[in-house]
Assembly symmetry: C2
Homo-oligomer: 412 residues x 2
Amino acid sequence: MEDAAGEPGRCAAVLPAGGCGERLGSSTPKQFCTVLGRPLISHTLEAFERASWIKDIIVVVALESLDLMKAIIHKYGHKRVTLVKGGETRHRSILNGLKVFSENRSDGTANEKPEVVIIHDAVRPFVDEEFLLQVAISAKQHGAAGAIRPLVSTVIASSSDGFLDYSLERAKHRASEMPQAFQYDVIYRSYLQCTDYDLDFGTECLHLALQYSNVKAKLLEGPPDLWKVTYKRDLYAAESVIKESISQQLCIITNVNKDAIEVGFLLHESLKLHFKVKAVSSSMCKTIHHLQNIFHGQCCNFICINVKDSDFEETQNLVDLLQTTNAGISYPLVILSVHSTSEDYSSGINKLIGIRKLAKEAYKSNILVYGLLINIDQDKVQLQQAVCEGTAIITALIKDRNPALVGQIMVA
Amino acid sequence: MEDAAGEPGRCAAVLPAGGCGERLGSSTPKQFCTVLGRPLISHTLEAFERASWIKDIIVVVALESLDLMKAIIHKYGHKRVTLVKGGETRHRSILNGLKVFSENRSDGTANEKPEVVIIHDAVRPFVDEEFLLQVAISAKQHGAAGAIRPLVSTVIASSSDGFLDYSLERAKHRASEMPQAFQYDVIYRSYLQCTDYDLDFGTECLHLALQYSNVKAKLLEGPPDLWKVTYKRDLYAAESVIKESISQQLCIITNVNKDAIEVGFLLHESLKLHFKVKAVSSSMCKTIHHLQNIFHGQCCNFICINVKDSDFEETQNLVDLLQTTNAGISYPLVILSVHSTSEDYSSGINKLIGIRKLAKEAYKSNILVYGLLINIDQDKVQLQQAVCEGTAIITALIKDRNPALVGQIMVA
């Protein structure tokens, strides 16, 4: 990135991830707890990788988590990451992270020194690129910048015997959140000058810049999604937020058969009240590039309208396509294999038993396949009713994304 | 409750519920947002009703929400509630709530003045009776008491131009949460004495007691579940917390038929790794009292092992029993209608189509009925595998509690 006004210059990030997660009530440190099957820290890394102008991502982990972290980086293919061993406290870990730009490693190499360094928590996965850029630019201009949020609770001080001493006026104070960013020289110098007491008991990087470099950080109000995953309920919330965000769009794959077109059309009309829907002809869907282009990125939800009730060809083709590109690596994908039947219920369903085997195979690649049977041999009103129920079932399966139900055949 | 040491004396509660929920990004005030189909405030009222020693519950709502609140109280049968019209601000609403104990209404009546009054937010549904009692007793002893929690973020003050002014040492400060409790005379006197500025811009009741009655509140560290539902993600978290809490126990209803016993036994063994399971003979399950006694309270999840694959008798009986007692009023109940079959898949499933009608009826009473078919005509290893899959399906359906899938027949 050009070093012009309004741009942050060379940028790096340090993510301290050495915490032990005691507040979560779990033996797994929270940054390694899985959300939709993937460790939280991998979600956070993805948010940083989206910002291609961040050239180096330093992840600081406890010695005992080093192998786990290497495995996560390998499995999810994270790029631009340097792993550094953590210190006893958060501040000591951040300092270790900052050192990789100033001290040579044992092999004589060092990471190129950035102009601006962003510091962020591994357990705040929902930071967006725009806000990262805003904080980085502000840091370049003012020396330091940090995210703030309004206080949800009033803050009070207690006396040593556990009684109210005083309360702070809520409107005059803010919660200091992450990300924060600093001119590298400002924050590194501050860390080198600060005391052992700061390193052992301090919690605020902005404070170090103020006290040791006399730099007053610019405070930027961030979006509510910056919150820190601290308690078990935050993991629930994080999972729901991610599920919601990957359940926005839907790709309907259909072919030119008359029945398939009719069911596909009716479903499309009904589903577009709940999703951003794109319809694709199955003949157009031979390469993953085509599918990706449709959404300018990743789509996690697919409806395959199959021609015959006994035929999984469309669904199998899509599974193959998604498997070859490892498309399920980041999030579990959902495929609804929709079959229209004009036979009675049990004959229709009997021919679909094979979907269980297909679903079991697909699940190995994090692809969740469910069956949906719609009887088209009904009058217009009944068919419309079935499409309505089908839409509710599809919406439910996509939102819940539950692996225990793959291979089941729902009936609308 | 006797007015002895260690007991709070006559106790009342005031729940300000006049907020407008702007931080939630929703047009519905957050206390009226539904969680598992029920308004958040009804969940909170339930928590207070459990504490029978709280004699009066004053709910303060905005004028425009009065009818809605009346409807909620009627629908969920809330007891001991007095509705009061809110003021412009939180403090003015609390004052209106406190007045019902000191000022006669237009009809000349007043609520009996309590010794201790608990103040709590309508949007903190997870307060437990034990902590309420602890706060009330402490208030009786010290005049005032309030819940605190450690700070998750460092608190800072900003200068008027948006730069860091100073940061507070996190370890020396606490977040002031709810519930709080006061000797009634202390808090009412404080409210009567405080200024318009306090009433319009203040946020902290403990502060009023300190400033105007010179009472230093005792601070009690509360559990993390006291958190305040503020953002949309908090609604997600609240829903997950409730779902988890009502998915702990499971009642298996079976009869003495040999096949039913075998499947019931195998499922019991497998399910008890995930739930607290009680098994009941269907002959014992003729009254709701029996079912309630089994769990010393409400059970929200049932497995009915049906004798024949074509027979819903056990399931229908249970639905009838739960409907007559309106058992689904508080939370959606789940019934898994389990059918063992020795026929081929499609004949087995064909006989079960009738479950869709039963499920549709039951859903009107907030009872979610799902079908599960287990083929028992298999060798021991295959049967064990089917029971394993059945357990995963049951667990998933109970945890998700998804209404769109009622009446569907899953196959293990």
